[in-house]
Amino acid sequence: MLLRPDPTFYPSARLAMQAPPETLAYVATLNANGNGRPDALAVVDVDPKSPTYSSLVGRVEMPKAGDELHHFGWNACSSALCPYAPHPHLERRYLIVPGLRSSRIHVIDTKPNPRKPQIVKVIEPEEVAARAGYSRPHTIHCGPDGIYVSALGSPEGDGPGGIFILDHYTFDVLGRWEVDRGPQFLSYDFWWHLGHDTMLTSEWGTPNMVEDGIKPELLFEGKYGRHVHVWDLRRRRQLQALDAGAEQQMVLELRPAHDPSKPYGFVGVVVSLKDLSASVWLWHRENGKWGLKKVIEIPAEPAEVDALPPLLKGFKAVPPLITDINLSLDDRWLYVSCWATGELRQYDVSDPFNPKLTGSVRLGGIASRAAHPRNPQRQLNGGPQMVEVSRDGRRIYFTNSLYRAWDEQFYPEGIRSWMAKAIASPEGGLTIDPGFFLEFDDVRAHQVHLEGGDSSSDSYCYS
């Protein structure tokens, strides 16, 4: 318990942009080399003034193997300052790190030594199943009233997936969040507009649809998710299903405007069955109803058959596969990862209905194998995937692994994992920082979160 609010809590996103630059990044790493070692949370030095800049300075191994660490989040964040359920003296201290495959949730303390985080509690899958009826925990958001966690499905691996809540103080599983889910069945990401009491959830697939790899027969029948669901956050009821259309498959990361008064946000769709393009959609509210509109479309890139994995040979093209997007805290810059073409794009979304492409960098890619400036001879694989934006919006960190079973289908030789950083110019434009490049010897890096918060970790209640 603190006497003054945690200094990393900011009332508004605008104020959070004045935060000091981060010096450490936490990165979920997956052990995919078959040696039976557990996954780990890695600590990366991102302070350019430090002698260990751009290298691994700490890691904490999970107690058991096979977790598939993926996404994670903080126990508390700026939403602690929300007026209706304030708890500003709770610390941003613990990382809640779920195993997407094991359903174990690790609570990791970053306080005594931020470079040597320690596991202080493990929530077993049985507790999640018994108290919430869910498994395969995915997204974590520190909410005003508790820690919200999305889950892909039921303990049996089917649907429906949904959301459950952990207690802010004890990390006990408080139970299933939904009161009335309506037609919602598939689950993936979620976030909210706190000023409008609105939650959004997206759709990937049930555990059985994704854990053994992407299933072409399901994909080409359009069985993966294509909706964004709008919910009444307060009454926990599904209000509306926004349909991206029958040809759109896998609606993933949701990035609502950080300003709580703005009722719009962006969501990435992985692939269109029509032409293998990928797209970003805008949800927005008009006359009390929510709508969904495609605002960015990125076409597939033609490629030599020899360069393609078996799954794509028939198409003679590389689909961009938008697997993550991220929005800067001023709601101005949208970053879009094209994991298969190896491109990270920057759009100016000042007018959310008309994004303008303002920057692009390339690393890896199925066909292009673009190299990093630090080592121009060396071809890279994987592509920009999980992307994180610093609070001031100047530094963009990204890693290249997607999900173990899916990595091999697109990069059959196995992902050689790296983490890179791009610099964003204040008026637009993106360049790769030649001084920052980290290669992970035998593990795969996934989500990155920055010390003190970043552009996907906090929610704000003040406009």
Binding site: L2, R4, Y462
Partner: protein, 227 residues
């Protein structure tokens, strides 16, 4: 008994009201957030009446309960019970950390009244008034207290002069004075933060009032027991 001594219950009631008014978790901050969300000063203003009504009901219910009990239970017993409730309540707030689980910014008059009622009740706002009214100087000094200058500084109604003042009226007045202080301080802070300082002030100025409050509850409980 001097006028100064006789005035202490009024001062305590005002101080408690001001304390609740200044606490960001009990009203003004919600009003500011609604003003920022709707981008108009009027939203701040509109939030204040329901916040005050909710607080008033919460405090009023506790005081009414004590009024009812006082008729049936000896004063000494009532004091002991009050002391125990205060100590246990304070300890529970100290030992088991928790925070409100309310979710929702889209609030109308009724919601905001309910929210304020829940916050004041969860806080034990009304409980703190009980030892004050139980320790109220007996009838003789009521005249003293009320004619001792309070009506001039606080503009209390003229009808409270004299020993003839009934207890229910006095207690009603106590709730009124407390709520008035809450209203005044809350409204001033809300407008100052909304129009002048901005919410950035939260980062430095939001002291852990809950911790202080828990200690105050326990201390008052102990004092009630022994004084």
């Amino acid at each position: 008994m001097s006028a100064g001594q006789a005035n202490w219950p009024w001062i305590a009631l005002l101080a408690l009201g001001a304390y609740h008014g200044v606490n960001p978790g009990m009203g003004w901050l919600f009003a500011v957030a609604l003003g920022l969300q709707e981008k108009r000063r009027r939203a701040v203003l509109q939030a204040i009446p329901p916040l005050v009504v909710g607080h008033l009901i919460s405090v009023g219910v506790i005081v009414a309960l004590v009024v009812a009990l006082e008729a049936a239970v000896p004063l000494s017993l009532l004091r002991v019970v009050t002391a125990i409730v205060l100590i246990v309540f304070g300890l529970s707030r100290l030992v088991r950390a928790r925070h409100p689980r309310w979710v929702g910014m889209q609030v109308g008059f009724r919601d905001l009244t309910l929210w304020s009622f829940l916050m004041a009740s969860g806080h034990g706002a009304g409980l703190m008034l009980v030892p004050i009214i139980l320790a109220w100087p007996r009838t003789a000094s009521i005249a003293h207290a009320t004619s001792g200058g309070m009506e001039h500084s606080m503009h209390l109604p003229a009808g409270i002069h004299g020993a003839a003042l009934g207890k229910p009226t006095l207690w009603l007045l106590a709730v009124g004075v407390h709520t008035f202080a809450y209203l005044a301080v809350m409204a001033v802070v809300a407008f100052l933060v909304y129009a002048k300082f901005g919410v950035a002030i939260l980062r430095s100025a939001w002291l852990n009032l809950d911790l202080i409050w828990a200690i105050v509850l326990i201390t008052t409980g102990v004092l009630t027991l022994f004084l």
